[in-house]
């Protein structure tokens, strides 16, 4: 045994440990598989990010004649932070993102749980519940715009006919109700995503564990809380993060339904930036807004990656 280990030590010294570059070179063929993805990503991500940051320090003339831009330092940023609209829009964004994400998640979770047990018509019901997620947000916006219509909207008419109100409410034309009304539309489109993710997650909960818990005398609620729920924590984190990012970045529903109005009550960051850039042609300010947004998103992204890599680690251990 001694002789053998001595021999091993001598051979260990004989092997040159490779450095990273040598490994990269030896495995250069492996990179070919990811190269197309990386190239596309570089062109369409790295360049725009760089460009946006640069532009945010310039005053830009309308029409994007970039030769005429003027360096103004952080003026764009200070202008944004001191404007009243900025705080209004930020508050809207927070409400919009939090409410949409949480309610969509809870509804999706509930639907996934209710659909987990087999019953007659489950497949059809599941398919119907998923449809809103599949159809275009533009179509969804028009459908709900019609439903919310101040004169002929079906909800208002029903409320009047039931005697709850005297006149059809102005869902999306009044400052107080516009944001909640849009959130209802957003949730309508998004809860199916949470539902699908959690349905998939539910299938990974081992039946044996549930049965063991049942034998141990756990009630339905206890089984859910002690077995199912811990199993879903990974999926739930990823789902909530994906929803939060999607909501933070949403554009179509507020843009098409209200265009941010009335009086900025339904403007969120993205629609506001879009209007600044393409409506008022204030490219520099819009770019500065984008950079701020970018910083917030990167912070969220940090947690997103951590949640995903947490899953990855679990996977590797299994």
């Amino acid at each position: 045994m001694n002789a053998v280990t001595d021999h091993a030590k001598s051979s260990r010294a004989g092997i040159q440990s490779e450095n990273v570059l040598q490994r990269m070179w030896r495995q250069r063929a492996d990179y070919l598989y990811v190269l197309p993805a990386i190239v596309v990503m570089l062109v369409v991500i790295a360049y725009p990010v760089y460009y946006t940051i640069e532009l945010s320090f310039f005053k830009t003339p309308p029409g994007l004649q970039l030769r005429d831009k003027v360096f103004i330092g952080v003026d764009n940023y200070s202008a944004i932070l001191s404007s009243e609209v900025f705080w209004r829009v930020t508050l809207n964004t927070v409400i919009w993102t939090l409410a949409s994400t949480l309610i969509a998640f809870v509804l999706g979770f509930g639907a996934a749980l209710a659909l987990h047990r087999d019953f007659f018509g489950r497949g059809v019901l599941r398919a119907i519940l998923i449809i809103p997620w599949v159809i275009s947000a533009v179509a969804a916006s028009y459908i709900w715009k019609w439903i919310y219509h101040s004169d002929f909207g079906i909800i208002g008419i029903v409320l009047v006919q039931l005697g709850i109100v005297d006149r059809p409410p102005n869902f999306i034309d009044s400052v107080g109700t516009v944001l909640p009304s849009l959130i209802v539309v957003n949730i309508w489109r998004e809860f199916p995503f949470a539902m699908i993710m959690l349905m998939a997650g539910l299938q990974t909960v081992p039946d044996q564990l549930l049965r063991a818990a049942q034998v141990d005398g756990a009630s339905a609620w206890q089984r859910f809380w002690h077995v199912t729920f811990p199993y879903l924590s990974g999926v739930s984190t990823v789902t909530i993060l994906l929803l939060a990012v999607a909501n933070f970045n949403s554009f179509i529903i507020p843009w098409i339904m209200t265009g941010g109005g009335p009086s900025n009550a339904s403007h969120i960051w993205i629609t506001h930036i879009y209007e600044l850039a393409f409506g008022r042609q204030r490219w520099g300010v819009a770019a500065a807004y984008s950079v701020l947004l970018f910083i917030i998103v990167m912070t969220l992204g940090y947690f997103y990656v951590r949640a995903l890599s947490g899953n990855e680690r679990k996977e590797n251990r299994a």
């Binding site: 990811v34 197309p36 596309v40 119907i128 028009y142 998939a200």
Partner: protein
């Protein structure tokens, strides 16, 4: 012992029944929330413009008519011509995006699943991070980039852009799929005389078909429904895709709600049909890829 279990059985059954009824009521409410707006869209689309704006409303149209659909699908009049052209443009862009996304995502996902080259982890998350960025950040610079590349007002600009937002999830989904295919299958193939690429092409690819289908659906739906880039990159009427085309058209005809509902319905049909046909692959891909423990 027997008396205890006799006492407990009915009580726990009652409790389970309670949960089950809560679930059923919840599902009925969710079904109404989901389906009623879609049903109202369909009912409105088969009314005349006059019937749609009556008070009290006609719950069921007294004179159902397919006039709105005829108008949209008739190549003789200008509305139909536009609609059909938008439809074709959307189809073209979506199909191209889907095919390219599969071609790019499959090898990338495979590499992320199988190889251990340095930087693999970093690249993987870099690709996923794309999901995080809002479209609007990219809008201006990409518009300028497309101008430089001469792609403004071409479908190429849309396809290139859509590729990047479809890719991250596609790669993620497929990677999970490849993780589940035992590496021994490829090893066996390589010993049986296949090169590494042949092992991938002949053995692994056919096994990952469900994942590829899921990827394809996701890319197609994403491309079909996209609005903001299309609205920015395309200004010529004949190049517009459906979401933007319909928005432009009806912002000029604000009161034709039956027409708008018919167009919304027509726009939804391809993706809904596609998804309903292939949804089991999608759910399976999510189960095996994204959320596997």
């Amino acid at each position: 012992m027997t008396s205890i279990s006799n006492n407990q059985a009915p009580r726990s059954r009652r409790r389970i029944d309670g949960w089950r009824w809560t679930g059923r009521i919840f599902l009925v409410l969710m079904l109404m929330y989901t389906a009623l707006p879609m049903i109202w869209m369909l009912l409105t689309s088969i009314k005349s413009g006059f019937a749609a704006m009556q008070f009290p409303p006609q719950w069921w149209p007294s004179e159902p008519t397919l006039a709105s659909y005829q108008k949209l699908l008739d190549p003789q009049n200008s509305v139909g011509q536009d609609f059909l052209r938008f439809f074709w443009n959307s189809l073209f862009v979506s199909v191209c995006t889907t095919v390219l996304a599969v071609f790019v995502a499959v090898p990338a996902a495979y590499a992320f699943s199988r190889f251990t080259f340095p930087g693999r982890q970093f690249l993987f998350f870099a690709v996923l991070l794309r999901n995080m960025f809002p479209a609007v950040i990219f809008l201006v610079p990409l518009f300028i980039l497309m101008r430089v590349l001469g792609l403004v007002n071409t479908h190429g600009s849309l396809i290139l852009t859509y590729l990047t937002f479809g890719l991250p999830l596609a790669i993620w989904l497929l990677k999970g799929f490849y993780d589940n295919i035992p590496i021994q299958l490829e090893q066996a193939a390589r010993i049986d005389g296949a090169t590494r690429f042949q092992a991938f092409l002949l053995i692994v690819m056919p096994l990952s078909v469900p994942g590829i289908i899921a990827t394809a659906i996701y890319s197609f739906i994403g491309a079909w429904n996209e609005y903001i880039y299309a609205a920015t990159f395309i200004t010529k009427n004949e190049q517009l895709t459906l979401p933007v085309g319909i928005q432009r058209f009806f912002s000029e005809n604000t009161t034709d709600f039956p027409g708008l509902m018919a167009a919304s319905f027509m726009m939804s049909v391809p993706v809904v049909v596609l998804f309903l046909l292939l949804q089991r692959y999608f759910v399976r891909a999510l189960t095996e890829g994204a959320v596997k423990h």
